[in-house]
Every structure is written in C-alpha cells, then in structure tokens.
Amino acid sequence: MFQSESPDMLSSRRVRPGRTPSPVIRITHWIGAASMLVMIGSGWQIYNASPILPFEFPPWATLGGWLGGGIAWHFAAMWVLMAAGVVYLGYGALSGHFRRDLRPAGPRAVGRDVAQALRFRLSHTAGHYNAVQRLLYTGVLIVALLTVASGLSIWKPVQLGWLTWLFGGYDIARRIHFAMMTLIVAFLVIHIVLALLVPQTLFGMIFGRRPPAASQETVR
C-alpha cells in the first residue's frame, strides 16, 4: 500500500507547512505576555513609592501590595521575560521569522492596511503578516528591548554604568523606562482591540492555524 505513494506526494507532504504561528512563537508570546503584565503591575507599584509625574497609579491596578512586594514580582518576572525574550529573538533571527514575517512593509502598504483596519476591513490570512502587524510588532519589539535595557540601567547603574551613561544618566534613564512602559501599554490596547476584531488570530495564537492552501507556496 505504501509503495503506491509517489515520491512526489511524499515530498509535497514534507514541505507542507505546519501550524502558524510556530509553537515557539506561541509559547514565548504567552509567557512574554504574562510576565509583561506582571512587570507593568509591579512597576506601577514601584512607581507609586516615588512618583516622577504628578499622579499615582490606583492601588487596584498595582501588583505586590507594597514596595517590597512590587519589587519581588518585578525581579521575578524580569527573569521570565528575559528568558522568553532570548528564546524568541534567537528563534526569530534563525528561523527567518523576522525577515519573512516582521520586516516592515513600504509606506503605501502601511497606508492601505491602516485605512482598512480603521474601517474594520483588514484582511487577515493565517501565515501572512499584514503591514499594520509588521509595523506594530517590529515597533513593540524595539520598545520592549529599550524597556529592558533602560530597566537594567537603573537597576545596575554601577555594574552596567556604560548602559546608564548611554541612556543619559540615572534620572533620565528612569524617565525613559517609564516612557517605554507607556508605549507598551499603548501597544497592548491597540493589539488587544485588533485581536478581538479578528478573533481567529487570538485562537491562532493559542492553538495555531493551518495556512490556507493558496498561500502555501508563498510560505516556503
């Protein structure tokens, strides 16, 4: 029975793409998302101990109960976030995920897709990243890297003094860390709204989806 299968079929089966996004991306996405939420809630707790702007975060939105608890959560989640980040960045670079899926599209494609998104008509095919996604994901990756780097620079202004210096010194680095957090929260709002508008993407980020047949050639 097996002999009846042609070599052609075997090879076509071999190149058949798996579920997308890949399991590595899905797992690191959710570990990263959870640890990022913990970082934000505990970061707001730490911020409240000595606010740099004339407001405080409402206690119900903070994590840890007091400064010591906030710091404990912040540093615990930091290692988880960094581990997920290293795995994701390594995978993204080696697998071609960044080059293939996240490389930002030209301004015309961005304009077209933003217009479609604003009319709630953004096309979305499994395995294909549209211009809005490419822009947002590349942007938030850069912002997340800057958040981690500025955070490390205010945590270790002596041992990582060069990094603190790059961010303009302790006080400025602290404000940059806060500004980057704000951008991440802004991204989260847009990201969650878009994901809810196209619920199959949310499903796909959990279970993965098979790309439609037509797009299979372009995937490889």
Partner: protein, 249 residues
C-alpha cells in the same frame, strides 16, 4: 460564645509567623489578588515562597555581576544635592543620638580582635572622601559627600576572616542590614565619619554610617553600633520583610 484560652507561650512562635505574614500581606491590593488570577489567600504562602526563591536567584545573579574593580561614578562638589534628604524608617524628630566620646563600635564574629573601637581610633586611620549618588529603592536619588575609613582597611585591622560570606551591621536605632564580603572589600565601601567638611550630623547617622555606593540606600546603615563577620545569613530590617537581600547597584 465561650472560647478556650490558649496557652500564650505555646502559640507564640505561630503567632509571630502569622504576624509576619499579616504584615507582608497587610496591604495586598485587589489588583494584586486579581493578578494572581483566582489565587485564594490560603494559597499565598506558596506564591510568597516562589517570590523568595526568585529573589535569592536575583541575589546570586547580582553577585556574579558584581566586580570589585568597577567603581561607582564620583561627582563634583557642585553636583551635591542641597539639602541632602533625611531618610529612615521613622521621622526625623525621632532620631536617636549618642555621646560621640562614649560611643564604641562592637566587633564580633570571625575576627581575631574583638575589642570595641572608639571614634578616635577610626580618626587615626586613613580617610577616603567621595561624592557619590545615593539611590533609594523607592527610585529617587541624591548626591552626597561622605568620607571615612574604607571598610576593607578596618576588616584587615581586626583580623577578619575575609573568606567569610557576610558582614552584618547593627545600629542603635534598631536598624540592621548585612552585605556580601565582596562588597565589604570594595574600595568605595567606607565607614563614614564625615559629611562634607564636618562630622556626620545626627540626621545622617552620627557618629558612623556605612556608605556603600554600589548598593541601594537601605543597605547603607546609619547609627552603627556593631559589626560582625559571619557565614550565617544575617538578613536585615527591610530584607526580613521582603526586600531583595543583595540590593546592589
């Protein structure tokens, strides 16, 4: 409603344990609870244990990152924060003072000479002056001008076992903290006797403060009363309540 009166002595350790936990959790917020996603209060000791394990991991990573050669940045006199803020676990009007002439530093633990030290003995040793940034765990920072005896010089004088793990500080305002030996031997770790051109004022920890620019503010004890070299983990006032022990900058 009648209730059996428990034997106080028998339940004392348990009471202390509960008390400590209540203090840690006293202000646990709704947000905190909801973030634990359905984690009930009686599940919390496990969360707390997990956080403590992570905090010890963070301690180890900080020890690896620490270099005795890497120096905290030093500033110009013009950059000193005026006035340098008072900070303690109590208000400034509760500051305790001692007669500097009668003050003695108790020396204990793994040292060959346990005789107490007077201020005059410290004044006779080489002094080091440095203008460095004090960074509080709360996030604010201030630049100050401290001078005093490098702790490493003192440790050599009392014949301390420099392979011991910890140096523990106790203070007469009932504060305490402890540091790793590598930080104790760092060239910028000093037993400060002066602030600016004058003897340390009472608000800043008279007669002696340990100034460690490679550590956060709560690892810089004021009102020093004793120093101990030990291999037994000593903890500290804030550390026992959940602050990260290493607290390095």
């Amino acid at each position: 409603m009648s209730r059996a009166r428990p034997d106080r002595a028998a339940i004392a350790p348990e009471l202390r344990r509960i008390e400590r936990r209540l203090m840690l959790k006293g202000s646990l917020s709704l947000g905190g609870l909801s973030m634990l996603s359905g984690c009930a209060l009686d599940d919390e000791p496990s969360v707390e244990r997990a956080l403590a394990v992570m905090s010890r991991f963070t301690d180890r990573m900080q020890a690896l990152l620490f270099s005795r050669q890497r120096l905290a940045r030093e500033f110009d006199a013009s950059q000193i924060t005026q006035p340098f803020p008072f900070n303690a676990y109590y208000d400034e009007d509760e500051v305790r003072t001692v007669d500097p002439a009668r003050w003695r530093l108790e020396v204990g633990g793994l040292v060959s000479d346990r005789r107490p030290w007077s201020l005059a003995q410290f004044r006779a040793l080489p002094q080091k002056r440095q203008i460095t940034r004090h960074i509080c765990v709360e996030g604010w920072s201030a630049i100050g001008d401290w001078s005093g005896v490098p702790l490493s010089i003192f440790l050599h004088h009392v014949g301390a076992d420099l392979r011991a793990k910890y140096v523990n500080f106790r203070c007469f305002d009932d504060y305490s903290t402890s540091i790793d030996m590598a930080t104790a031997l760092h060239p910028q770790t000093i037993m400060a006797l002066d602030y600016g051109d004058h003897a340390l004022p009472s608000a800043y920890g008279a007669p002696m403060k340990v100034r460690i620019p490679t550590k956060l503010g709560y690892k810089n004890p004021k009102y020093l009363s004793s120093i101990e070299v030990t291999n037994r983990f000593p903890g500290g006032y804030w550390e026992d309540q959940g602050y990260n022990w290493f607290g390095g900058s």
